[in-house]
Each structure stands twice: as C-alpha cells, then as structure tokens.
C-alpha cells in the first residue's frame, strides 16, 4: 500500500493538473466566443457572393470556354486534398477525426487508381498523416505563429491552389475540415472546391417577377474569372474559421471532462488517504496497548 506521503504527493499533483485544465477550459471558452463572432461576421459576404455567382454562373455555365475553376480540367485523375486541422492538441478527438477522415479518403481514392496529393493546413494533421502518406505531401502550411486567422491567410492559400490549377497539377480539389455543428459537435467533412459547385439559381428569379437580366461590365466570362478565385478564397476562409471555432469548442469540452475526471480522482485519492491514515493510527494504538499489556 502506498504510504501517506506518496498519497499526499499524488493528490497535490492531480490538484494542480485540475487547475491547469480548468484554466485551459476558460481560455478556450473565451477564444471560442471570439472565433464564433468572427465566423458570424464573415457570413454576409459569403451569402452575397453566392447570390452573385448563382446569377452569373447560370449565364456562363453552358459556354464551352467557361473558366477552368468552374468546370475543372475535364479529367478526374489527380486529386488534391487540402486537410485542415488545428495547430495544437489537447482538444479531444478533434484532430484525429479529421485525420482519420482524410486517411479513409486517400485510401479510397488510391484504391480507385487515382493519384492523390496532400496539402495540410495545421501542424496536427501533418504529423498525423505524414508517416503513412508522406510521399503524397506537396506542402504543409502552419499558422502557429499567426495570432488571428484573417482573410489574408485564406487568400494566400487560394492563390497557391489557383496557381497549381493553372499549372495543371491536379484535376479535382477537395477540402477536408471539421465542420462546426455546435460547441460540442464537430463533424469531419469534405467539400469540393474545384470544379466549383455552384449554388443553384432558383431563389433569385421567381421572387422579383421577371428573371433579373443583368448587364455585365466587363463581360460575363471575365467577371466570372475574377469572381471564382474570390469564391475559392471565401470558402477556404470559412473552413479555416470553422476549424478554429471547432477546435476551441472541442478543446473546451475536452478540458471540461479532464477537470471533472481530476475532481473524481482527487475524491478517490482523498478517501484512500484518510483510510490509510486511520489504519495507521489504529495500528499504532494496537501496538501501544499490546505493549502496555505486556509490561
């Protein structure tokens, strides 16, 4: 049986662990609120962008020389997977879920005989996938020294993907990230970026009586060629924000659980400590009494 001193030491160490997890939980909660507000603020732009794309896409979709970003390269051989995860751990199953999802996708694609290229965003996803799929890596992006994810980062990433598309380095681009469903639930999911999935144009027309006949300046195709990269950036931006919000949500939950577990453990240890202490006292008493009797 552990000595009293050992028990005291363990109780103290679990207590300080609890303090740390409690603090981390509160920090995560505060950051979660900020991340959610940021995601909220980004929504109007995305909505309006979607509306504009819907009306524009309908005008161009049938034309044979529509931009590559819209219709893809026409092949389906080389897949680029952009895997978005967090920079840090201690967040429950958050990173593992995205990593596992990505791994399943890579295996499925390769089983079909496709070529897969992987671009990771966030250190955790890179370390998770590197051992098995290191040879498919074409890049690792990390924002661990970026304080607050802004549109800038998303734009940079979008530019990089666009350049790769122009160079014909892939045919299909898919984004894998943790969709933020609620504070306690993040779902690993995928979203096709290229060829772009255009929003359906069924909301705009009927409400305003006549279908809106837009004039375009410059032409439809030029406009679309400028709009699509923006749309790509905005989708990436949204994924990055959801990833950030989801990470803090997941971390909050994980730290809450850890705090509760530490509390339970302290209770158990304290009980054990008291029992041992009492047993020691009883033992000493017996020794004294039997000693006195022997005299």
């Amino acid at each position: 049986m552990a000595s009293l001193k050992d028990l005291r030491g363990r109780i103290n160490s679990v207590k300080s662990t609890r303090k740390i997890t409690q603090a981390m939980k509160m920090v995560a909660a505060a950051k979660l609120r900020r991340a959610q507000a940021q995601a909220e603020a980004a929504r109007p732009y995305a909505q309006r962008m979607e509306r504009m794309l819907a009306s524009l896409g309908a005008a161009v979709a049938d034309s044979p020389d529509a931009p590559r970003m819209l219709i893809g390269t026409g092949r389906d051989q080389v897949h680029l997977l952009v895997v978005v995860t967090a920079e840090r751990g201690l967040s429950g199953p958050f990173n593992t879920n995205a990593g596992r999802f990505a791994r399943a996708r890579i295996r499925a694609l390769e089983a079909e005989g496709k070529t897969v290229k992987v671009l990771t965003v966030g250190r955790k996803g890179a370390t998770y996938l590197k051992r098995e799929f290191g040879s498919r890596f074409i890049g690792e992006i990390s924002y661990h020294n970026v304080k607050r994810i802004g549109f800038e980062q998303a734009d940079e990433l979008a530019t990089r993907i666009t350049a790769m598309l122009e160079a014909g380095e892939f045919d299909v681009c898919t984004l894998i990230y943790n969709r933020f469903q609620s504070v306690i639930s993040q779902v690993a999911s995928e979203q096709r970026l290229i060829p772009a999935a255009l929003p359906a144009n069924d909301t705009a027309a009927p409400t305003e009586g006549l279908p809106a006949l837009y004039e375009y300046e410059p032409g439809e195709e030029e406009l679309l060629a400028a709009l699509l990269p923006k749309n790509l950036a905005i989708q990436i931006y949204r994924a990055l924000l959801e990833n950030a919000a989801g990470f803090y949500g997941s971390q909050m939950t994980a730290m809450d659980n850890a705090t509760r577990n530490a509390g339970d453990m302290i209770n158990r240890l304290t009980l054990n400590y008291n029992r041992t202490r009492q047993a020691n006292i009883t033992k000493e008493l017996i020794e004294i009494i039997s000693g006195a009797e022997a005299v």
């Binding site: 504009m52 809106a212 030029e222």
Partner: protein
C-alpha cells in the same frame, strides 16, 4: 428623395447597410454614380473611393481595394476585397503599399502577361489608396 439600399461587405465584416440616395462606385471601366431604379448590373470594381450621398450631402467616403458590385433597381451590394473609411487611411501605410506593389510588378517583369496585369492592377489600386489618403 428616393433611396435604395446600399450594402458594403468585406470578407471580414459587414461595413454598411442602409438606405442612401446616391452612391458613386469605382467600376473598372470608370466611376459610376448609381441612383435608385438603376438597371440591373454586375460590375467589377477597381481600387478607389466609394462616395455615399444621403439627404443631399455626401456623408460617407470609403476606400476599397477592388471587388464587385451587384446593382438592382432597389439595392446595391458591394463586395469589397478590403474596405476602410477614408478618414482612417494612413498615408504611411498607403505609401508602403505602393512601394511593395511596384516592387512586385518589377519582379513580375518576365512573367506571363496575365500575372503582370494583376501586379499592375495592384499598383494602380495602391496608388489610388495613396491619393485618397492624401486628399483626406
């Protein structure tokens, strides 16, 4: 006077959403003033200043770094890449941007024409920002 709804959004937030009488927006093919009941249009924007008129007076001046605008008879939506009220523009930051953009253009001298064109656009936008900052 008749009004229409003007919305100005950047990727990071919604900057403006209210009824106005007139807005002058910097379209790529020249500035255009938009009044209520304008014909539906979608235009690309270059770097420049959006001027908003309400109650017969110019009430707001915002600098945007390019973007798009959707115009309908009752509503104008501006999707700006970046937007700042002219009053808060910093001359130093604008100058720095011009220098950076010019350097990028010089670096792109041997690239494909499209890339050069994009760099050129950025220089123009940065210069417009500098001008707006100086006027403010």
């Amino acid at each position: 006077m008749a009004t229409f709804d003007l919305e100005l959004v950047s990727p990071e937030r919604l900057l403006l959403s209210r009824p106005v009488e007139m807005a002058v927006i910097p379209a790529v093919e020249g500035d255009m003033g938009v009044l209520p009941n304008h014909a539906p249009m979608i235009v690309a924007l270059k770097g420049g200043v959006i001027r908003v008129t309400e109650g017969g007076r110019e009430t707001e001046r915002l600098f945007i770094m390019g973007g798009f605008a959707e115009i309908t008879p009752t509503r104008v939506t501006v999707l700006a890449d970046e937007a700042t009220p002219v009053a808060t523009l910093s001359r130093a930051a604008a100058t720095q941007r011009v220098t950076e953009a010019e350097a990028a253009l010089a670096a792109a001298a041997n690239d494909a024409p499209e890339i050069r064109e994009k760099a050129m656009d950025r220089v123009m936008a940065a210069r417009a920002m500098q001008e707006a900052a100086q006027a403010a």
